[in-house]
Symmetry: C2
Subunit: 92 residues, 2 copies
C-alpha cells in the first residue's frame, strides 16, 4: 500500500516538541519528501502501528494529520515544481 | 483527475509574499484541507494552467511544490487524525 502523510502541528509552546516527535515517528516508517510530508509503502499492520504511535503525541483539538492510502504507488503520479528533495527518487 | 498538492515556501524576507500568492492561486483551482495542502478534481487543461501560474511565483532554488495525480479520487482513501478541516467533506 502506498502511503502519503501530511501533518500540521500548531506552533505554540508545546508545538515544537510535538512536531519533533511526529517527525521522528514518521521517519521510522516513511520517507520525508517535504517539510511535513512523508511517503512510502507500508503493510496494513505497519500503518496501524504508525497511527497508534502518532495518536499518542498529537493534540486532537489543535494538530492535524492526513493519511492518504492508495493500493499501489503506480496509481499515483508525482511531479515536482521547484526544489526537489532527492531522497524521494527511490520511490519513483 | 484527482489532484493533491503540497507546497513548502522558504520563510525568508520574500517568502511571505510568495506564500500568499501560491495560496491564492491554489485556492482558485483546489480546496485547502491543511495549511499548505490542497486537493480537488481537475481537468488536464486546468492542471496545466495551475502549474503555469505557480511557476511564475515560486523560487526554483528555494521553494518546493509537489503535485500528486491519480486517475480518480476513488483510488485514494483519506483519513484524518486530530483536527479535521470541514471544507474537505465535499470531496469524500
Amino acid at each position: 500500500m502506498y502511503i502519503l502523510l501530511v501533518y500540521d502541528i500548531i506552533s505554540d509552546e508545546e508545538g515544537a516538541r510535538v512536531s519533533r516527535n511526529v517527525f521522528k515517528i514518521c521517519k521510522k516508517y516513511l520517507t520525508n519528501i517535504q517539510k511535513s510530508v512523508f511517503e512510502g509503502n507500508l503493510k496494513k499492520s505497519e500503518l496501524i502501528k504508525l497511527e497508534y504511535e502518532l495518536k499518542n503525541f498529537i493534540r486532537k483539538d489543535k494538530d492535524s494529520i492526513i493519511i492518504f492510502e492508495s493500493r499501489s504507488e503506480n496509481w499515483v503520479d508525482k511531479k515536482f515544481i521547484g526544489k526537489k528533495d532527492d531522497k524521494t527518487s527511490n520511490i519513483f
